[in-house]
Amino acid sequence: MLEMRSVSSGYDGARVLQEVSLSLSAGEIVCILGRNGAGKTTMMKTIMGLIRADSGQILYHGTDLLDVPPHQIAGLGIGYIPQGRRLFSELTVAENLEIGLMAGGKGNATRDKVLGMFPRLAERLHQRANTLSGGEQQMLATGRALCLEPQMLLLDEPTEGLQPSMIALIRDTVVALKETGVGILLVEQRVDAVLSIADKVMFLENGKSQDIMPASTLRENPDLLKKYIGV
């Protein structure tokens, strides 16, 4: 579904990603591991067109996303849950979801489905996003992305700052989505949380993609983790 070929990108002059390649199929969870500042968020932003890549190709169902205007990328069925959630802070829960619905989905049916997954959001439809608790905010950020009925989901550190029960909820949600055939690109610091659900793991270091390997290999050889990210 997604194939990145030697993608390089960065910010005004400073190149961050260097010739990163990666592929993701439907119903697959690929996890990106890397230290702080390795370029994980930059990679997600590049896929969403928020940063223009300098070279390479990002093929999504055969279309090169680099040729698609950024605001049309969501419409192709790509949901983005940014690092730090980045909700529309002064908009209500309902309005945040509405923005997601504008980008795709099937209107009220989708909305009801999402609210069914996160009943706590349904109780707080008219509450402003910036007054939600951290866990509720993550539910809303996830719900907003699911409102466009994505075929591919980009999650950037969804468990940052959450308690174990919330992490479990997020993990269950991700696994359930995978089972419906959604392709998931996951950035995560909690290696333990990731290894149990990921199919493949990619290591990113200083903007370069190191090895990509099946998660099972890592589960069997925990020592490899030391080599790549020092944990």
């Binding site: 950024p70 049309q72 529309f88 923005i99």
Partner: protein, 306 residues
């Protein structure tokens, strides 16, 4: 001399100023809020609105009401379109960089002003109001027979001025509904809060920006069309309203539309009252002092956050 009738007169004059100022400042505030652009050319969009209103009314002739109505529709549309073009060709090119947009809009200010001078000239030209009945201001007096109405000599306003106040209120309510109750308003607010995420959720930010810039300029032009039957169109008429709009937007709290309207009413009323009892210059001095005090005691403005 009774004081109260003069107070009423001052309030009406003040509310006319407030009405025009609120429309114009809301335009400025919207552009700043959504796009983070300080539009120094906003006063020239106001001036262009007035000049185009004169042009449209002059070309059409006929009954003043029809000519005015045509101007009221055509001038803001033309100015809004021009602003959208300026956004797409100039501001977008410089990526809305805060410092460069200030320089660019200063450039735009002089271009619009000088082109107007070269074509329209330096005369001030009037537009006839659509209607203009004189309305005397009544007051009471105690006579032997009890309370009776009388009309203090020389004190009056016009039906047109009252209509300007009413029309501005309707327009401001319309903008409020647009921003809070419609899909397009939601899109504008989302873009204001997080441009990148809005874009990642399918919002065409370029189009939103062009629209907001056009809407802001259109509101300035609309304010000008309303005032031009009272004040006449002149190529330098944009300066004072621009300064006052900045004052209003700062007092109201940058980007807060409700705060902007409240501040416009405050500035307008104090301007009207002080001008009636003292001099217009004193009114301007007091407005400037108000900004100073607001900035000292509430640096983010009356309704500002952060």
């Amino acid at each position: 001399m009774e004081l109260a009738p003069y107070l009423i007169l001052g309030c009406i004059e003040g509310l006319v100023t407030a009405a025009v100022l609120a429309l114009m400042a809301v335009g400025l505030s919207l552009v700043f809020g959504v796009m983070r652009v300080v539009n120094v050319a906003h006063g020239e969009f106001f001036m262009l609105g007035a000049v185009l209103a004169w042009f449209v009314a002059d070309q059409l002739g006929g009954h003043p009401a029809i000519a005015f109505l045509a101007a009221l529709i055509i001038a803001p549309l033309l100015v809004g379109t021009l602003a959208m073009l300026a956004d797409m060709t100039i501001l977008k090119r410089i990526s809305y960089d805060p410092e460069r947009t200030i320089v660019a809009t200063i450039g735009l200010l002089y271009i619009i002003q000088q082109l107007t001078l070269m074509t329209y000239g330096s005369n001030a030209r009037p537009v006839e109001p659509p209607f203009n009945q004189r309305i005397a201001i009544p007051w009471f007096e105690w006579t032997d027979g009890g309370l009776s109405l009388y009309w203090p000599w020389g004190l009056g306003t016009t039906s047109y001025k009252l209509a300007v106040i009413g029309f501005a209120i309707i327009l401001l309510l319309g903008i409020w509904v647009l921003m809070t109750r419609t899909r397009i308003g939601l899109i504008m607010r989302a873009t204001q809060l997080d441009r990148d995420v809005a874009q990642a959720y399918g919002i065409n930010v370029d189009r939103v920006y062009a629209m907001v810039f056009g809407l802001g300029a259109g509101l300035a032009a609309l304010a000008a069309v309303l005032i031009v039957p009272i004040q006449q169109a002149h190529y330098l008429m944009g300066h004072d309203p621009l300064l006052l709009s900045f004052i209003v937007v700062i007092i109201g709290g940058l980007g807060s539309l409700v705060g902007t309207v409240i501040a416009a009413v405050m500035i307008g009323l104090s301007d009207g009252l002080i001008s009636v009892f003292f001099t217009p210059t004193l009114a301007k001095i007091i407005a400037t002092l108000m900004v100073t005090f607001v900035l000292i005691f509430r640096p983010s403005g009356l309704m500002g956050s952060k």
